[in-house]
Symmetry: C2
Subunit: 133 residues, 2 copies
DNA sequence: ATCATGTTGATAATGAATCTCACTCCTAAC
DNA sequence: GTTAGGAGTGAGATTCATTATCAACATGAT
């Protein structure tokens, strides 16, 4: 739980709540733009800058987890629903992995580093692209 | 490996050789800009676009391995010297991990996906930042 | 209700990565 | 060795995700 030692009081705004609601409702990791687009359909759309700021806030709290997806895009998902991903080097497909391959990551490394999470990307070729090659 | 079935003849240019030489000589993963900067000091500097194109070529060949580093930067390293990384969520430090935590990744998944490589990032807090918090 | 200040959002700015296109110079063929 | 064709190069323009700016606003404590 990344107990954030905040020196600054934090305010509860409906915008932040809305961003979190979208991330929670999503079936997969979303880009900031996708979050923004989903909120745009709602009664009260919010600015894209606010979406970025809210996501960054939740990431610092350990609630939301950023993942670098192909194309240099960052995608955000609920940390409590963590999962890793596959990337096909031929067609670029980016798919979630059901089982996490690192069920027991080391909690602490010899250097003193304390591990709280991870991001794993398996690279290779999907069945379809193997057949095509 | 990754036997590329090229339909297009490939030419050997001194620019591509120079890029590969820089990556081979580097102690860690470099950004395209860092490769470009190192070549700029040499007798014959080359264009940044050519650096990007050469790196992409080597990646497709499986010779070079891209890694998404903090800040949305992509870094490149020799695939034969693969290693994973640590990221401190507080100070942003990005350090190489000595031992690879996935010595035996699955070669093939139930879906038929063939795994040829991976990228792992352990996230947490370095010793220094733990002391500071 | 009032006030101090954390927050928002439209917009400008940033910057990595890609695209364009005229020119260059590898390679294979002769 | 020459030559032709086309892959490759590079300076600069362009794209586009993300961040910074700043005046106006709204939250939470008093």
């Amino acid at each position: 739980m990344a107990a954030a030692s905040r020196a600054v009081p934090r305010r509860n705004t409906w915008q932040r709540a809305a961003v979190l609601r979208v991330v929670e409702a999503a079936a997969c990791h979303l880009t900031a733009e996708e979050v923004h687009r989903r909120l745009r359909r709602s009664r009260r759309p919010i600015g894209i800058a606010t979406v970025y700021r809210a996501l960054e806030l939740f990431v610092r709290d350990g609630l939301v987890e950023p993942v670098s997806a192909p194309g240099g895009r960052v995608r955000y998902g609920l940390a409590s629903r963590h999962h890793d991903h596959l990337v096909c080097l031929r067609c670029g497909a980016w798919e979630p992995l059901e089982a996490c391959l690192i069920p027991q990551p080391p909690r602490r490394l010899p250097s003193g580093f304390r591990v709280t999470g991870h991001q794993l990307e398996l690279r290779g070729y999907c069945a379809k692209c193997q057949a095509a090659a």
